[in-house]
Symmetry: C2
Subunit: 384 residues, 2 copies
């Protein structure tokens, strides 16, 4: 009777981790919770003001359009053109989404999975929603092995031709959650050539694209000629707006967008009217994104230095706001989690992102500078 | 490649209708748009104030919990206990939803539809989301015939035993969109007995329950002993908050709720933090609901009188805010729509709710009193 995937009773891994951290806090422990990529610094204030103004000026509330208002979509289109020199059209190429998570989850519903030979592909270490979505809609999946030696992205050349024939959706996530690793231009170009050849879609989860150390990492919007990508963007990370749920879906593939639009229309994922106004304000402003980026650089520097001093190996890249860690003296994820917990630090077990995450933990640093300093002190107490 | 249901390219029927009305307005026609159940009177002001206060007091935004905050769920539990004398527990029996539409759509994902002999049932004249959801997830469906003689609800006794064996989910919607008809206590009791006997779930869409003419219609929450119902409630209609997207899912069936919770967790339908505060304010207040109810009575009286004078037959009940109409001289839906359009009035074709809606139109009266008076004038010009 119940969906077989749900019958396995797998709690969403990040819910489990967050709940444990909250439980320890409730028991009175002085916990530094570094489990969830949920920025603790200020939200972009223009977004808050936009909502306040709406509530002052409007006493009537009406249904939002399922794909977003033209004003919201135009603000996203303007942002794309300004930063990526790509012209996209509202509705045809851009929809609103309530954050990127719901859009990522629902995308699989656009396709026919009754033909058993087509699959959804994702990395063996990845954001848990790709698998949850595929398994919930009963789509065949393939986990592409990734590890330190592959740079935590799948080795495209290791996949034989007859396997590529089975790929329908390929989830790409760069900068990568949980490792912060980033692909380069030639990797993405190669992937898009394969997508052309074998007729699959690259589903590109790009919510960390604007949080980088030195140069903006490559993303779908840099490939202005391709119609093989669908990009999922969000204000959650760049603008510290996780509680607002504001995102956008973008693609030059008008056929896929047409069917995804038809799919989404009855789902009721139209964005609350005033959230669209907050979104317009945030997409139009870069000052706060520059500031956030700068602050993450400072935090990264401080904490990476403390971690390195204690013998941790930082495996991931320098973008996003995650450290992906191992330690030669603590070879298992459990030992690593316990080590941090001795100093009241909760981190996410690497295995929350797949069993290939064994031996690693993820530590988030989207925390306030005060908490970074406190964390720095505790890290210095670790492993005396 | 594409989901076969989406391949049929059926635009969501109410989107089509709304688009036509907006197009006529854009062309300069003075249109009274009565197509969508989207209240035009004031939103409950306590909800707006709650959001304003949040934006003033909080400069940090954090992820909402997938099932809603304890405070939000407790406010819903308190409202249930106060009005229906039923004790429900947060999380175990109540979750938040972003309006009821997304919850209604997603519920089918909780179940296994690969066993071909189980079906989703709904009336042949109904809110289009039940069918869109079932068809999108590729679940077998059965449309139960309804018409004037059956009171626009399925005749439960006309369904043979071997058919009942196939029912897994039974969508009930009372007061009924589009007809405003309402079931009585014995109908629902009978349905729940059948649900016990055959092991199906009554999915009860109750967003109009608090908008009634004389006495509150029966609903799931009146059946405190049954665990065969899952109720979908919303602030959209009762509190005029369609643009906010705030609702709740309620059931005493802890097993179903457990799996639906597991299903929803990775979907990203957690309600924005400040919307939960707006929701708390609205569930706690009844004054505005009493006022809305009273105003709909006045509007109903005014418009039904104008319609009756012109020979329209009002088939539906007196709850909700819809008229379900036919006219002996205009036997088809197309003729009816054109008749209204001659006076610049856009109504929803009955066929938007299923082919059995042929011969009818739906006319909404959740409009301002000023517009009601204007509508009254135009109706008086109709059929001179």
């Amino acid at each position: 009777m119940i969906n077989p995937y749900l019958k396995e009773e797998r709690e969403y891994p990040l819910t489990t981790v967050k709940r444990l951290a909250m439980q320890l806090q409730a028991e009175g422990h002085d916990i530094i919770d570094l489990t969830i990529g949920d920025p603790q610094d200020e939200t972009f204030d223009g977004a808050r003001l936009a909502i306040q103004d709406f509530m002052t000026d409007n006493c009537v509330s009406q249904y939002p359009l399922a794909t977003g208002s033209l004003d919201y979509l135009q603000a996203v289109a303007d942002w794309v053109e300004k930063h990526y020199q790509l012209k996209l059209e509202p509705i045809k190429h851009i929809f609103s989404s309530n954050g990127s998570k719901e859009a990522i989850f629902l995308f699989a519903l656009t396709f026919d999975w009754s033909i058993a030979n087509k699959e959804i592909w994702f990395s063996s270490i990845s954001y848990p929603v790709y698998e949850a979505s595929a398994r919930t809609v009963n789509a065949p999946i393939r986990k592409l092995p990734v590890d330190h030696s592959s740079g935590f992205f799948p080795d495209l050349d290791a996949i034989p031709e007859q396997q590529w024939e089975k790929c329908r959706l390929f989830w790409l996530n760069s900068p990568h959650n949980p490792t912060s690793m980033t692909i380069d231009q030639s990797y993405y170009q190669h992937l898009l050539s394969l997508a052309d050849k074998y007729g699959f879609i690259v589903c590109s989860d790009e919510c960390y694209n604007e949080l980088y150390q030195d140069n903006r990492p490559v993303c779908s919007l840099d490939f202005s000629q391709s119609d093989r990508w669908v990009a999922f963007r969000s204000l959650s990370k760049r603008s510290h707006m996780t509680g607002f749920r504001i995102g956008a879906i973008l693609s030059r593939n008008e056929e896929i967008m047409k069917y995804f639009r038809l799919c989404r229309s009855p789902v009721g994922v139209g964005m609350p009217t005033y959230n669209q106004l907050a979104g317009i304000a945030a997409w139009k402003d870069e000052t706060h994104v520059d500031r956030n980026r700068l602050e993450y650089r400072q935090k990264r520097k401080l904490i990476s230095s403390a971690l390195t001093k204690k013998g941790f190996e930082i495996h991931g890249g320098q973008n996003g706001f995650y450290f992906w860690l191992s330690h030669p003296d603590y070879p298992t994820t459990t030992e690593l989690c316990n080590l941090f917990l001795q100093q009241g630090i909760c981190v996410t077990p690497g295995t929350a992102f797949g069993s290939d995450g064994e031996g690693y933990v993820r530590l988030v640093y989207c925390i306030s500078m005060d908490l970074c300093l406190k964390l720095n002190d505790r890290l210095n107490q670790l492993l005396p």
